[in-house]
Amino acid sequence: MTMEQKVKMIEVRDVQFVYPGNNENESVNALSGVNFHIDKGEFVGIIGHNGSGKSTLSKLLNAIIFPTKGDVIVNGLNTKDHEHLWDIRQTAGMVFQNPDNQLVATIVEDDVAFGPENLGVPSLEIRERVDRALATVEMQAYAHQKPHQLSGGQKQRVAIAGILAMEPECIIFDEPTAMLDPSGRREVMETIKKLNRDKNMTVIHITHYMSEIINADRIIVLDQGKIVMEGSPESIFKNVRALKKIGLDVPQMTELAYELRNAGMDIRDNILSIDEMVDALCR
């Protein structure tokens, strides 16, 4: 990303989204005045407490819902332009929270084929894409299994393969690890990081686990439908008090550093990992 000119993958321009109710009082303002963009190849983390509007935001990026005000532009196409609806959904794939509720077919490889089948890709090419996608998420061995025989992490990797087979340029992950056990969470996170690193896939990772995005290129913090912070992980996480105030947990080591500083110790405030902490303490 250093040499080439930065190309905008997604642009969100002054977006407001209101969930309509029966009358004025009942309608809920989920997002307002949201402005940001995401470059090609970037790994962006979006964090926020429950009800901060992060799931609404993810659905806006994939043209499942449309902004009440403002524009969402995906790869140069406005999501309001219904002609390009399918191009947008193909360009910006989406992985959801519940692994069970996004697998359609009774056999793993058929599920991966679902996306390309919808796009009308020729049969032989679908076969190739499915094999490639399953290899990327390391699930080839399970190609003929039934989804309900897989673990949560494996199901989620199949869901990722299903999106990869559509050959998107960007994948939006909407809390993909929220329903998984720690080992499943690790599997899925490794897959996501690999996609960004090796395949140069643009990744938008929406989560409330801070530890999952300490390696992100950029972090956007949402609270009550507004962007409250934006920047590198180090610059975000050192605001321990502000993050705690909006109901978010900071990574353990960052919090420890914060407490140590409060207690009068001279230590950096942008420590994220245990290794960094060890380095800082053993200076």
């Binding site: 519940n98 679902f114 309900h148």
Partner: protein
């Protein structure tokens, strides 16, 4: 307890019958059912029995497994037999209090019982040898030839395959809800049939709510994956008729021909009418 449900069971043995195109098997089974209702004497039943024996042997499915399918319907068969036995007017051959057993009744009862058993065995051989997914693909193809249904062929088969996909998921969920309600003191084992049915409400309500939630999320996920109905949709695995399918079509016509011939046999087997 819920693991015993046998709907749409598939018994893979890798036999030739398993490898046949699902469309072939569907057409074969349809022809078989139609023929079953055309048979009018025991010769025909004998011939049908032979067809079943041969097909079962080729399919390599254990006979006991197939017979288990009849067990569930024993009550219906018995009811049909009893009703036909006593309700048919004709030559009385035996009396049981106010009820008379007639020769015609005996004949019809036997035929009905055989017909039902052959129907169950024949169709269960199809479901046992065809994976649910192949079956829905085959049905989608077949529905294209039925007027009115044609327009919804894709939607219907998509619904069927999603239902199949979610049967195990919802079973697990039911199990989990049952355990949770039991832990709260719910009682599913005792009481009469009405109170037992009432006791199921705390299972059914959470199950329905969760099923609706799942359906909603699945629909969103399908749309996000560019699903827009059957138009312009391609398939990874296309159905192709192979030589073995052609051979079975020849056999199917031979079966139809053979069974039609049996209806013309005038010589009675056992029954003197």
């Amino acid at each position: 307890m819920l693991k015993d449900v046998t709907i749409g069971q598939f018994y893979p043995t890798g036999s030739v019958i398993h490898k046949l195109d699902p469309r072939t098997k569907l057409l074969f089974t349809t022809a078989y059912i139609v023929m079953l209702f055309c048979i009018n004497n025991l010769w025909g039943y004998l011939a049908t029995f032979l067809v079943l024996v041969v097909v079962t042997l080729i399919s390599k499915i254990p006979v006991g497994y197939i017979i288990r399918g009849i067990k569930g319907l024993v009550l219906i068969i018995l009811l049909t037999v009893t009703l036909n036995l006593f309700m048919t007017p004709g030559n009385v051959i035996a009396s049981l209090g106010p009820f008379n057993i007639t020769l015609e009744g005996l004949k019809i009862a036997t035929f009905m019982a055989l017909r039902l058993i052959f129907l169950i065995v024949g169709t269960s051989i199809m479901t046992l040898t065809t994976s649910p997914l192949d079956l829905t693909d085959g049905m989608e193809w077949c529905m294209r030839f039925i007027p009115f249904v044609r327009r919804y062929a894709h939607e219907l088969s998509m619904m069927m395959s999603i239902a199949l996909r979610f049967i195990p998921t919802l079973m697990e969920e039911t199990d989990r809800i049952m355990k949770a309600q039991k832990a709260r003191g719910a009682n599913f084992e005792t009481g009469n049939i009405i109170s037992r049915a009432k006791n199921l409400i705390p299972i059914l309500i959470p199950l329905f709510i969760s099923a609706f939630r799942r359906a909603d999320e699945l629909a969103t996920a399908m749309e996000a994956r560019c699903y827009r109905g059957g138009e312009n949709r391609t398939r990874m695995n296309q159905l192709i008729f192979e030589n073995r399918d052609r051979v079975s079509f020849v056999l199917m016509f031979m079966m139809i021909g053979g069974l039609i011939l049996t209806t013309m046999i005038k010589m009675p087997l056992i029954f003197p009418i």
